[in-house]
Symmetry: C2
Subunit: 478 residues, 2 copies
C-alpha cells in the first residue's frame, strides 16, 4: 500500500494534505530571515505532506508508519519558532511530513484538588485560557507568541511568558507529559517532585520534537486573578534598575510581571507612546534627579493590594519613581503586537529582529554590553534596545531588539553576520537562549553550553527513542 | 605497573586504603537492613580499596585509571543512603573501589551578587553551613541526614530538607555542576534558566553516581536568617490537616518548615515528649472541639513577623489551634535524632524503618491509606505513623515510620516483604521515592514510574558517558 494511502486510511483523506499552499504554510517560522525568505519567494524546505491527526493515538500510529517508511516528522504547533525549529528538513530521509497538531485541541481533565489540568498539545494560548477560565483557572503563561503558539510548543521549547516572575516558566508548570515516540508511548510525571532518579520531565521539556511528539501536558493551574494592576516606574540608569530588580528577586518581592528596559528601549517606548507627554515626563523626572530614565513595568495579578505594597516600598527604597498606570496598561494592551509590527517595518526597508539570553547577575552587565557592542560592530548604525523580562534569585534574562537599515544587496548575510557576532558574544557569559530555544539557528552554539558530553548524552537519548532519526531532523542537535 | 601502585602514585600512598576496617567502613549505608547485617556480621560486598582523592582533577584521573583497568567505582559521601546507594557492588568487574570524597571539602567561591556559592562535593551539611555562614549565607538544606551527608550526595540523590517549603529541594538550589566521567570532565549551568534544549542539570541531579562523580556544585544561597520561630498547631484529623497544608501551599503561604503528622504519629509525639502535659493538652483541645489531634509543626526563618502573620491567619481559618513554641522547638532540637534512636530500638527487639513517597493532592489520602494497609497486612501488629513534610502546589510527600516486633527467625525477610508490599501500594499512586532516591532497593520499581522508554533513555545516557559501566554498578538501573 502506498504510504499516502496508509496515512489516509489512518487519519481520513481530509486530514492528509498535499496541496502546495497547505504544505508551504507549515514550514519555516517567524524569524526575520523567515520573513525575508517569504518576501523574496526564496526556495525553502517544504514538507511532502501535512498530516492532521485527531488525538494522541493517531499521532502514535502516524509515527509507526513513518518509522516503517523512514519518513522524517516535523511536529508543528503555532509555527511561531524564530530559530528554525519547524523547518521541514529531510535529514537524509526520502520524505518529510509535518504533523500539525491543530486537532489535538481539548482540555482533557481538570483536577481542582491538585490544581492540575491536562491539555492536548495543539491547544493555542488563548483557547487554553478560555477552556481553563470556564473552570476558574489560568495558566498565566503569556509569551509574545501567545496568540498562536500551542501547549505542545510551549513545552517543547521551554517557553517563558511575560508573567514568568509570578507564574513561573512553562517548565515550572509541567506536572506530566505524554509523548508519542518511535518506541511507543511515553508517559512521565506521577508526583510533584521525586527522587526516583533524574527528572526526565526536564529532558522531555525542551527536546524540541527530537525525543518524541508531545501530545498531552499535565499543567499546574492557578485561580483566575480577581484583580490586575500594571504600572510604570522609572529608575535612574540600567545599573540601578538591574540592582532594583535583583533586590526584588532575591527578597522574593517580584511583581508577577517585572520588565526593565535599558535607556535606549525606554527612549523608544516614550517616543512610540502616543498618549504620553514625553517632555512633561522628562521634566518631572529631572526634578527628581533622574538623568537616565529606564522604564520598569510592574504588574500584579491576584492579591494585588498585599503584594503591591511590598514591591512598591522596596522600589521606593531603590530610588525608583512611580509614573502611574498609563505606561503599565499600554504595555499590557500592546504586548502581543511586536511580531505584527515587523511587516510594516520590513516594508520601510528596516532590518528588525530580536534575540535573547540569560545569565547570572554578576555577568549581566558585561553580557549586556558585549552583545550590544557585537551587534553595533557588525551592523554599523543600529538601534539596539534591551530589557530584562524574567528575573530569578541568581540572574535574569536579557532580550534585545535590533533595528537597522536593511542592506538590500545581501539582507540575509547582513543579519546572519550580526546574529553570529551576538551569539559569539553570548557564548561563555550566558545561555544561547533563555526562551526562544535552539532549533536550527542556535544548534552550533549548544556544545559550548552543555559540553561535548552533553551533546553525546542528548544524541544517545535520541537514539534510544528514535533509532532511525525520524523526529524533527536537524533540529537541536546539528 | 600494578593498579594499586598507579593509585598510590596519583593520590599518595596514604590515600589508598586497603585496610579491611577502612574498606568495611565504606560499604552499605544506614537502612534497617544495613544495620541488621552489621549486627549479624553478615557478609556484605566490600570494596577492594578506598581511594581518597584531593580534588576534582584527582577524581578525573582516578576514573581514567579505573576505565583502563575496568574497575567499578562507588562514589561515597556521608554513607547515609537508606536504599543501598553506596553498596560496593562489583557489577561483573574484577574489582571495585570506593571513591571517598571526604577531602573535597572546600568552599571554592562565593558570588554575593548572584548569590551563588560553589562547594566541593565532599563538604558535609554542618561544614557547608559553617563555611557559608562566614560570608553571611545559608543553604537552608537540613535533611535528617544533615550531620553526615555531603553536598555531592545531596545532589546525586535529589535530596529534600526539612525546610524545603521555604528553601526548596536541593535540585532547586543547584545552579551548576562539575562531574568527572569516563569520557572527561562535564560542566553544566551557565544561567539560572535556559531554553537551550533539555535541562541536563536535572539529568545529572539524581543520577546517583551512575552518570559521573559530582565533584563540585554551584548552589543558590540565601542570607542567614536573623530570626527563627518554630511552633506547634493542632488540626482535627488527617483530612483537615492535609487540606490546611494544601491551602497554604496553593496560596503561597507555607511556612519554611511545614510538617503535618497523622493521628498515630501525633500520639507517639505526645507520649515521647517529656516536657508535655499530655492530659492537660488533650483536655484543652477537646474543649476546642478537636477529637483527633494531628500535630502541625510550622517554622519560619528570616522575615518571621511578616510571614508568620499570614500563615497563622490562614491556619486559624482552617480551624487549627496554636499550641505554642514548646512542640515546635522540641521538634527542631531533636530533628536529627531519629537515626540515632534506632540502635536503642534494635537492642529492644524492635523492627524500625522509614519509607517515603509523594503524590498529587487528589491521590494523597488513598496513598496514605494504601501504604498503611499494606504494611499492617504484611507485618501484623505494627505502629505505622506518617507525616507530610514537603508540600507543593500540586501535591505533597508522605513519610512513614514503621515499628513492629522483630521476627528474629527471619528479620531480613520480615522487612523485605513489608517493604515490597509498601512499594507495590505506592506504585501507580505516587513516586517510589520523594527524597531517599533509588539505589538498589527501589530499582525494581523505576520502570513503573518512568516507563520502559525512560529506562532506555537513562541506560543510553549512561552508555554515552560510561560505556564500560564502571560508575556505581547496579545502582539506579537494575
Amino acid at each position: 500500500m502506498p504510504v499516502r494511502t496508509e496515512f489516509e486510511e489512518l487519519l481520513g483523506a481530509d486530514h492528509v494534505l498535499v496541496d502546495p499552499g497547505e504544505r508551504l504554510g507549515r514550514t519555516g517560522g517567524l524569524s526575520y530571515l523567515d520573513l525575508l525568505h517569504a518576501r523574496a519567494g526564496d526556495e525553502v524546505p517544504v514538507p511532502d505532506a501535512v498530516l492532521l491527526p485527531a488525538d494522541p493515538d493517531q499521532v502514535q500510529a502516524v509515527l509507526e508508519v513513518c518509522v516503517r517508511h523512514d519518513i522524517g516528522v516535523v511536529p508543528f504547533g503555532g509555527g511561531t519558532s524564530v530559530v528554525g525549529g519547524v523547518a521541514a528538513l529531510r535529514g537524509g530521509k526520502a520524505a518529510v511530513v509535518v504533523l500539525d497538531l491543530v486537532r489535538l485541541d481539548e482540555l482533557v481533565s481538570v483536577d481542582p484538588v491538585s490544581r492540575i489540568a491536562v491539555l492536548r498539545a495543539g491547544v493555542r494560548g488563548p483557547e487554553a485560557e478560555r477552556l481553563l477560565a470556564a473552570h476558574g483557572y489560568t495558566l498565566g503563561h503569556v509569551p509574545q507568541s501567545f496568540e498562536r503558539a500551542t501547549i505542545g510548543g510551549f513545552a517543547a521549547t521551554r517557553s517563558a511568558g511575560q508573567a514568568s516572575s509570578g507564574y513561573g516558566r512553562f517548565e515550572d508548570m509541567v506536572a506530566g507529559l505524554r509523548l508519542a515516540t518511535p518506541k511507543g508511548e511515553w508517559r512521565l510525571g506521577v508526583a510533584p517532585a521525586s527522587a526516583a532518579g533524574p527528572d526526565l520531565r526536564q529532558l522531555a521539556v525542551g527536546s524540541e520534537g527530537t525525543l518524541g511528539v508531545i501530545t498531552e501536558v499535565a499543567l499546574r493551574v492557578r485561580p483566575l486573578p480577581e484583580q490586575r494592576h500594571y504600572e510604570g516606574w522609572i529608575v535612574d540608569g540600567w545599573a540601578a534598575g538591574a540592582a532594583a530588580v535583583r533586590k526584588l528577586a532575591q527578597d522574593h518581592a517580584l511583581a508577577d510581571v517585572t520588565r526593565l528596559s535599558d535607556v535606549d528601549e525606554t527612549n523608544v517606548s516614550f517616543s512610540l507612546n502616543a498618549g504620553l507627554k514625553t517632555t512633561a515626563l522628562k521634566t518631572y523626572l529631572a526634578a527628581r534627579g533622574i538623568k537616565n530614565p529606564c522604564l520598569l513595568i510592574v504588574g500584579w495579578e491576584g492579591d494585588v493590594a498585599r503584594c503591591r505594597r511590598r514591591t512598591s516600598a522596596m522600589l521606593k527604597c531603590s530610588g525608583a519613581v512611580r509614573i502611574g498606570k498609563v505606561l503599565g496598561e499600554s504595555w499590557r494592551h500592546g504586548r502581543f503586537n511586536g511580531p505584527r509590527q515587523r511587516d510594516a517595518l520590513l516594508d520601510l526597508g528596516v532590518c528588525v529582529e530580536t534575540l535573547e539570553t540569560a545569565a547570572y547577575w554578576s555577568n549581566l552587565d558585561e553580557l549586556h554590553d558585549a552583545v550590544r557592542a557585537a551587534l553595533v560592530a557588525s551592523l554599523g548604525r543600529a538601534i539596539v534596545m534591551c530589557h530584562v523580562s524574567h528575573a530569578y534569585e541568581t540572574g535574569a534574562s536579557l532580550y534585545f531588539t535590533v533595528l537597522t537599515s536593511r542592506d538590500d544587496t545581501d539582507p540575509v548575510g547582513q543579519w546572519q553576520r550580526a546574529k553570529a557576532a551576538a551569539c559569539e558574544a553570548i557564548s561563555g557569559l550566558g545561555t544561547i537562549s533563555h526562551h526562544h530555544a535552539v532549533g536550527l539557528d542556535h544548534a552550533p552554539y549548544l556544545e559550548a553550553e552543555i559540553g561535548r558530553i552533553g551533546l553525546d548524552v542528548l544524541r544517545a537519548a535520541k537514539s534510544a527513542v528514535d533509532p532511525t532519526g525520524i523526529l524533527n531532523p536537524g533540529k537541536l542537535l546539528c
